[in-house]
């Protein structure tokens, strides 16, 4: 059993074993290549679910403002495992498997709700808000006949409660008792990004966007770790000065992990040497509504930052829009992408309006994101047709070292460097 007892390296993520055995071999070039079967193979997918989502990782559930009162719950998934987060009587938020201990039925079949306790719709097994089995019908039988065996112990048949943490209002959970603490798991750089946008202020929920993208889940992660495409696909960025290939930027793949941190600085619209190379730059385009592309300076001072918290979540601010992103793999060839938008309780009406307005840049209809899901669809089609071929990620070099410029695929290399080892390829 590969279960380490100490984690001396910051950010080190140690994989767990999986019963799935995979014959495939990674191309000899290593992490500068992505073999396309990694986006389609069912066995690879199952192993990823075991090793990453059920392993020594911390997974995003949601924000505490989504479950404001005792008994409020929200449904989510960690990998393919249905889970819920619920506000318990002591005010803390618990994370439970969304699975009746009896026959596996989904206990909560709504996205959100408020209950006194949980009752499975099938046989009415009843659990308290912490998942303890409180009662089940006919435990003593009916008219003296039947009932559960005498040695049936309800304490052994509760809903499993996961280890969880609340960091500044974000809720994370792990299935593994061996996972390091959340702080150790993230490491200081990722933790700093989380704390920047979740500084402990009371949060307000603004809403969700969800999309089902017909591509493997890792393609989205690569897309977010790919600043190379940003100004080339999303001309909107450079056209309106929100981001540029020559902006002051940093790409940091966190060693021994799938985490990364990416930072850039908003410098406004300008023409330099870099811009003529970007074929789709348009000097004649202006927005009629300038506010859409003009962030108001707030705590981040024009710094567009974010962290990918492996395996499946991102935090960060874009203009004045605060959001988390969560990826839910649905199958080898489909994943769900959820944006959760939030604000702070002390935001005035003006700031809230800006946050809502600038959300037009993101999500399924976002000015700088709607093209992404279109492209991921295309990549999945190509990968499906040619599983034996491979993608090449050498922009910026062949290493996984931190960079102080933007146009690089180093974050994707860093991701696969970790992935190859963790999956045992």
């Amino acid at each position: 059993m590969d279960t380490p007892t100490t984690c001396s390296n910051v950010g080190r993520q140690n994989p767990v074993e999986s019963p799935v055995h995979i014959e495939r071999r990674w191309p000899a070039d290593g992490y500068t290549r992505i073999p396309y079967w990694v986006y389609t193979d069912a066995a690879v997918f199952q192993k990823e679910m075991d090793v990453f989502f059920a392993g020594n990782t911390w997974n995003y559930l949601g924000l505490d403002c989504e479950v404001p009162e005792v008994g409020c719950y929200k449904r989510n998934w960690i990998g393919t495992r249905p889970v819920i987060m619920v506000r318990t009587e002591n005010g803390e938020i618990a994370v439970l498997e969304n699975r009746c201990a009896h026959r596996g039925a989904q206990i909560c079949w709504q996205n959100t709700g408020k209950v006194n306790d949980f009752t499975c719709p099938y046989h009415q097994w009843n659990y308290d808000l912490n998942g303890n089995l409180q009662g089940l019908p006919f435990k003593r039988g009916v008219m003296g006949k039947g009932g559960m065996p005498r040695d049936f112990d309800p304490k052994q048949h509760g809903i499993r409660k996961l280890r969880s943490v609340n960091r500044g209002g974000t809720i994370w959970a792990t299935f593994s008792d061996e996972a390091p603490t959340f702080e150790e798991y993230c490491g200081p750089e990722v933790l700093a990004e989380i704390d920047q946008v979740f500084p402990g202020k009371k949060l307000t929920l603004l809403g969700y966007t969800r999309q089902l993208i017909p591509s493997n889940w890792k393609m989205y992660i690569e897309n977010l770790k790919d600043p190379y495409h940003a100004t080339l696909l999303h001309t909107f960025y450079i056209t309106f000065g929100l981001w540029r290939a020559d902006s002051k930027s940093e790409n940091y793949p966190i060693p021994n992990s799938g985490h990364s941190v990416m930072i850039s600085h908003n410098e406004g619209k300008k023409v330099t040497e870099a811009t003529p190379e970007m074929q789709r730059f348009r000097t004649d385009l202006e927005m009629l509504d300038r506010e859409t592309v003009t962030p108001k300076k707030e705590f981040n001072g024009g710094r567009v930052g974010g962290a990918w918290v492996f395996p499946a979540a991102a935090v960060g601010i874009q203009a004045n829009t605060l959001k988390t992103r969560h990826v839910i793999p649905r199958s080898p060839t489909e994943h769900e992408l959820v944006f959760t938008y939030y604000g702070y309780e002390d935001d005035d009406e003006d700031m809230t309006r800006r946050r809502l307005k600038q959300a037009n840049l993101l999500g399924p209809a976002g000015f700088v994101s709607m093209d992404d899901s279109e492209m991921l669809t295309q990549c999945q089609i190509g990968a499906t047709g040619y599983p034996h071929e491979a993608g090449i990620i050498e922009m910026g070099g062949r290493d996984t070292e931190r960079t102080d410029y933007m146009v690089s695929e180093v974050l994707i290399r860093g991701f696969y460097r970790y992935y190859i080892e963790a999956m045992g390829f």
Binding site: N116, D117, T119, Q124, N126, D128, Q134, G135, L136, P137, F138, K139, R140, V142
Partner: protein
């Protein structure tokens, strides 16, 4: 039945008690439950109530049972209902 509500009668030693029959926690009949000491255990989720006072005594129940004042006369049980 009394005033369209089902009533559950209990014989504990010499005394007779009466409470609402429907468990406030779920769709269950307390008369199908299990008595131990002076507590009635709901058959659905094993919630416990004190028969005498109607107070909840064990999870998952948290609400009081409606109790009726009982008088036994010549082998007939009388319950006090709300006055006119």
């Amino acid at each position: 039945m009394l005033d369209n509500e089902a009533v559950c009668l209990y014989a504990l030693g010499e005394r007779v008690y009466a409470t609402q029959d429907r468990c406030p926690h779920g769709n269950a009949s307390l008369s199908e439950g299990y008595i131990e000491d002076c507590l009635i255990e709901c058959p659905l989720h094993q919630g416990l109530f004190d028969i005498e006072t109607g107070k909840p005594k064990g999870p998952p129940v948290t609400t009081d049972l409606k109790c009726y004042e009982v008088k036994v006369n010549d082998g007939t049980v009388y319950l006090r209902t709300a006055g006119p």
